[in-house]
Amino acid sequence: MKEYKVQEWTKIPYFNHDKKLTKTIQCSSQSRGLSPLAFAWRKLRNTILYKRAFMCPLNGWRVKMHRKRGVTIGDNVYIGMRCVLDNAYPEYLHIEDNVSLAGGVTLIAHANPYPHFQNIVESAAAPIVIKTGAWVGENATILRGVTIGENAIVSAGTIVDKDVPDYSMAKGNPMKIVAEYSALMDN
């Protein structure tokens, strides 16, 4: 896989979502450092691609569409149907080679709470890195700032809110590391 630059934690400034559409586009584009027109075009294109990829029956097409949206995706990657790869910040998702995401997996690279929560949760986007050979089970949810290690397994339905080490299995809610199998892998 080509070298890629992992995005850094970025604060999301607050704005009133209830105002006119033009105001929303202006504020959103400012926080991403884009011109309003470029942002509006990108948002429209990404939403169409995301909706197409959501129900597309061919894996090759799904992967291509997610790449077009700005997600970093390596070779030989499987992305199941009904996967939600963050529509607001797709550039914060990094998926390396030989990764398998089963159906219905959700990757959310940001949290944007209202300002009265500012002392509790930081409003920011953070990268999600899924390293070579990892396997994520059906309907797992991966939250911002998480790194899933090489050849790690995330069990179905797990909510991943902290890092998963290499060669280990994460399971349950709240998530626990239940097994380690580095000795069993051929390497």
Binding site: M169, V178, A179, Y181, A183, L184
Partner: protein
Amino acid sequence: MEEFIKNFANQWDETEPEVFTPECAFHELEEWSSLTGLAILNMVAKKYGVKIAPMELKNCVTIADLYNLIQSKQ
């Protein structure tokens, strides 16, 4: 054999260590699950340098069977 049973028993959290004898049919224990199996396979690969396929572990009935399998592969 005794050392192997000790290592084997360390992979279980709730079952008493006295339960583990060479004749113990470990698949029938209440705590048995595929995760325990994975932990045992990893322990065998780490300590004895033998890789056992999950199917081979399934075919072993007692701990003695597993011990003999490891011996034959070493």
